[in-house]
């Protein structure tokens, strides 16, 4: 066996604290080492050429590079081996930068440590075995979960690239949160006006199949070959026949008596409804919780909606369907919920009708809202309005992160009040105004110039909203009390209530704040740890519309890559299960974060799907009988490495 050892100086990053020359000299004498060299930048082209030349001239069969973290350059050096005809897994990397030179100061000792680490790697290298990279074919379709602006954007972009997309939305219409907003900051575009064309595009696109009023309930498979179970809830209206004329809703006995969720229960609808006039698809849905026929089996002499519908679209016998979709990649764009201010009783939300949330305010000023855009509270136009920021954000007791949108939407809402009620008195309680986006600071300055009073308060300072006849009294520390007609709480963005359940179904992770976790906070912000599943919009972290759209475009590109390639390469390092030793206890099954393990109930042993296995080793460490070993990290290799390191330690 011939092993080549290459030590990198990394400029002075390593050479400053490790005597590279001495290291090379020392490791030269290790068993099986045919050559050892150092170079200023091993990862550079001349560095790589040096290794290639040695492999050819000296017929090396294992290569050890002592440099930086394998995260960045392991693929680089594996390619070097591949290009010279060696199996790329005959390569071993030692991290003498992060694990040695950067964390130590005494040159002599860190040189010793570098020698130890390399000795271990050399010992391990001789036991390395060739591994084959695997390729799997990709089904050229994608699934987008969530039909808000991020989901629509992602679906459109994947569809534009020529791939079929299923866009699954839980509610009867796509549009999401953005459809609920009146105007958008800082440009004051009408939210619906810019969103609805996109909704229509998505509905009309030949490559997009809309699955509204549907939910993802199960996921199997792996990148390239996902099998998705989608529950399609019954609308009780034939989508083919319904033209959205609305005669049914006008005829419904419960017309104007059911709170409309889209208007956050401020407006009223019928039992048969579309959530908002621009809904896509414009197909009516019967609320099974409310409809008299569905609840009691009888609605007067005859259901009035059935009578009203000229196209006989209503069908009370519709049943829930489970669709099975085969897709190659998935974009998750499930959006967010809003913080419920009832959790902070000091704001008086839920107690007094004068206290509302930011989103409720959006419906109040929206022309399609319950009041037709007229701001009124208890039937009167408010004269004194107080906005309170950071409700449920930046608060260690509820949610520690900043929700990023509240400062600006509050400024926008204040501006809207000023526009609609010019004489109104407006006070905004803020902690810090975070106007970081394009045009944000300018907008903030503009709003301040409109005579809106910004009052600073510390988040920890007590605040109290109490009843005062038909008004409320806002009491804060260090400021005079305000007798307000209306209090708007800038509630923050929180993860969807069912994020946990979805994360379990999709096998993706959540960060500590409950949002879905990206694979790398800087460099892989749209990826998850599960290959083939990507994130877009507020399901990953609070975002404003442009950020959500940008991320959705990015996620669409990432999701389309494997579809375009037609195949994906999967990690060759995976678990191997010795069926003769496996006791079938299935302890590993739950630990596998990638659903790669499957129980063979006939042979009563666990089996591993090499394509899904990421080689993380959780199963191997948990296996009580030691039946699981990891390719590239088998017992012999690890023990040789430990022996190498400790033997060298004794020598020193």
């Amino acid at each position: 066996m011939k092993i080549g050892v290459y030590v990198c100086e990394c400029g002075i990053n390593i050479a400053h604290t490790v005597d590279v020359e001495k290291v090379v000299e020392d490791v030269q004498n290790l068993p099986n080492v045919a050559v050892s060299r150092f170079y200023k930048y091993m990862c550079s082209d001349p560095g790589q050429a040096l290794i290639k030349k040695d492999i050819k001239d000296l017929q090396l069969d294992r290569v050890v590079v002592a440099s930086c973290s394998p995260r960045m350059h392991e693929p680089t050096f594996r390619r070097v081996l591949e290009e010279t005809g060696l199996n790329p897994y005959f390569f071993e990397m030692v991290n003498i930068r992060e694990q040695c030179s950067w964390v130590h100061q005494e040159k002599e000792k860190s040189t010793g440590k570098a020698i130890q680490l390399i000795t271990g790697a050399v010992a391990r290298a001789s036991f390395l075995e060739p591994l084959e990279k695997k390729e799997v074919s990709v089904i050229p379709k994608a699934l987008v979960i969530g039909g808000g602006v991020a989901g629509i954007q992602a679906a459109l972009e994947i569809a534009e690239k020529g791939f079929k997309v299923y866009l699954v939305e839980r509610s009867p219409s796509i549009g999401g949160r953005m459809a609920q907003l009146d105007k958008t900051f800082p440009t004051l575009d009408c939210s619906a006006c810019i969103l609805t064309p996109k909704m229509v595009d998505a509905a009309r696109h030949p490559n997009i199949e809309l699955l509204t009023y549907s939910e993802v309930v199960g996921l199997d498979g792996y990148i390239g070959n996902f099998k998705v179970k989608v529950k399609k809830k019954p609308r009780y209206v034939d989508e083919e026949k319904c033209v959205g004329c609305g005669l049914c809703a006008a005829a419904c006995r419960l017309k104007g008596r059911i709170p409309n969720e889209f208007d956050l229960n401020k407006g009223k609808r019928s039992a048969i409804y579309v959530p908002f006039p621009q809904a896509i698809p414009l197909k009516y849905t019967i609320d099974p919780e409310k409809c008299i026929t569905l609840k009691t089996g009888k609605c007067g002499d005859k259901a009035l909606c059935v009578e009203a519908c000229e196209r006989n679209a209503i069908n009370f016998d519709q049943k829930e369907e489970i669709l099975e979709l085969d897709v190659g990649t998935i974009v998750v764009a499930t959006g967010f919920d809003l913080f419920n201010p009832m959790e902070k009783p000091e704001y008086g939300y839920g107690k007094y009708p004068n206290v509302i949330t930011g989103l409720e305010f959006e419906r109040l000023i929206s022309a399609s809202g319950p009041t037709g855009g007229h701001i009124e509270i208890n039937g009167k136009e408010p004269k004194k309005v107080v906005f309170i920021q950071c409700v449920g954000s930046r608060d260690k007791k509820t949610h520690e992160y900043c929700s990023r949108v509240c400062c600006m939407y509050t400024a926008k809402q204040a501006h809207m009040v000023k526009e609609k009620i010019p004489g109104a008195d407006l006070v905004i309680y803020y902690t810090d105004v975070r106007a970081f986006g394009k045009g944000f600071e300018e907008f903030y300055n503009r709003v301040q110039g409109e005579g809106i009073v910004y009052r600073r308060r510390e988040l920890g300072d007590p605040i109290e909203v109490i009843k005062n006849n038909d008004k409320v009294l806002v009491k804060t520390k260090g400021h005079p009390d305000i007798d307000a007609d209306l209090v708007v709480l800038a509630t923050g963005i929180i993860p969807r209530e069912d994020s946990k359940e979805l994360s379990r179904i999709l096998n993706i992770n959540q960060s500590a704040d409950g949002f879905f976790l990206e694979a790398h906070p800087k460099l892989r912000p749209m990826d998850t740890f599960t290959d083939g599943i990507f994130l877009a919009g507020c399901c990953q972290s609070p975002k404003d519309i442009p950020d959500a759209v940008a991320q959705a475009s990015g996620a669409a590109v990432r999701a389309a890559e494997p579809l375009a390639q037609g195949k994906v390469e999967v990690e060759a390092i995976s678990a191997v299960i010795d069926a003769d030793v496996c006791g079938g206890c299935r302890m590993c099954e739950d630990l596998c974060a990638y659903s790669a393990l499957e129980f063979d109930s006939e042979k009563k042993v666990m089996t591993c799907n090499d394509v899904m296995c990421k080689g993380c080793g959780s199963c191997a460490s948990a296996c009580p009988t030691g039946a699981i070993t990891m390719r590239h990290f088998d017992m012999q290799q690890i023990l040789a490495q430990i022996d190498g390191i400790s033997a060298e330690a004794i020598v020193q």
Binding site: C582, C585, M587, D590, P624, L639
Partner: protein, 327 residues
């Protein structure tokens, strides 16, 4: 104690069933205070079954010892049930095996014996060292009555009882299909007195204590073979590549073996004490098991083998688990 006629009738009934292969119980041993395991395939064989205070063995080990050769082509798996007589502590081992999916619940018929404690053979042989002929032992209140050469001897229970029985919290089998006789309620509590005393000693003293104990070990692996929960297809001591434990009998290797054995039972040991009973060198093996049991109880509020619905401790990872165990 159990009515033996009722036991035999029950076993006869079971082995007559088509879906029961055999029943494992106890029969009179050939000499002294021995009882031996008995396997009844027919109602006649069930006549041999006994239950006395000498029935210390944990028979659940035989469930895991049955050899199951690979099926021939066209041959169907024998899915008949196996019957088993269990005491309180034995039943916990069965629960643990079931939790670990070592066996299926439907493959077992469990005959539960509410237990009032069993005799430690080591204690009784000290009192009657050269007893060759079989001895009849009965329980009468707080005493055991031994009939030796026609003469009755009355000995207080406490003098002969296993230490584990004195602190037994689960005398009635936690799992059973048939229960012979009335439940025995326990008012005892495991207080780990012996463990607490040892814990307080200095490191050096502890090391001396265990070095002495492990020096005696002859590596016969009786402790492993008798343990119902040591059922790995390939035991760590049998592995050659890598060879974790060398075969030489010396303090270092003996220590490694005995500690690994105890650790491999962490969160699994049901405390039946068979390892110590089987040990020919009188190594206090239950002390190791008990120490781990105590720590686990304190760290995770977990007791092994009492709840069939639970997962095994080491398969129940929770993000808020205490990290005190991580060295």
């Amino acid at each position: 104690m159990v009515n033996e006629k009722q036991l035999r009738d029950e076993v006869k009934k079971l082995v007559s069933r088509d879906d029961v292969k055999y029943v494992i119980g106890y029969e009179q041993g050939t000499y002294g205070f021995q009882v031996t395991p008995s396997f009844a395939f027919t109602p006649e064989e069930a006549e041999r079954f006994i239950f006395s205070p000498l029935c210390a063995n944990n028979l659940s080990v035989y469930l895991m010892l049955e050899e199951k050769p690979p099926l021939r082509k066209g041959e169907k798996e024998d899915t008949r049930k196996v019957g088993l007589v269990v005491k309180g502590c034995d039943a916990r081992a069965v629960v643990q095996i079931l939790q670990e999916k070592g066996l299926k619940r439907e493959s077992l018929v469990i005959i539960g014996v509410p237990c009032t404690g069993v005799i430690d053979p080591k204690k009784i042989t000290v009192k009657f060292p050269h007893q060759i002929k079989p001895v009849d032992v009965r329980e009468e209140g707080n005493h055991y009555v031994l009939t030796i050469n026609g003469k009755n001897q009355k000995i207080p229970k406490d003098e002969l009882l296993f230490e584990k029985c004195k602190q037994c919290e689960y005398p009635t089998p936690v799992i059973h299909d048939v229960l012979l006789g009335d439940e025995v309620k326990s008012t005892k509590k495991e207080e780990y007195k012996e463990i607490k005393t040892l814990e307080k000693k200095a490191l050096k003293e502890k090391w001396e204590f265990w070095s002495k104990a492990f020096d005696r070990c002859i590596r016969c692996y009786a402790c492993r073979n008798v343990c119902p929960l040591c059922y790995c297809k390939e035991c760590i001591v049998d592995q050659l590549s890598p060879q974790w434990i060398y075969r030489s009998v010396n303090r270092s290797e003996n220590t490694v073996w005995n500690l690994i054995r105890a650790y491999h039972l962490a969160g699994r040991c049901s405390g039946c004490g068979e390892c110590e009973r089987a040990c020919p060198m009188n190594i206090p093996l239950t002390m190791l098991n008990k120490k781990i049991e105590k720590d686990i109880k304190e760290l995770f509020q977990y007791v092994a083998g009492v709840n069939l619905e639970e997962k095994p401790l080491l398969a129940m990872f929770k993000p808020n688990d205490t990290e005190d165990t991580i060295l």
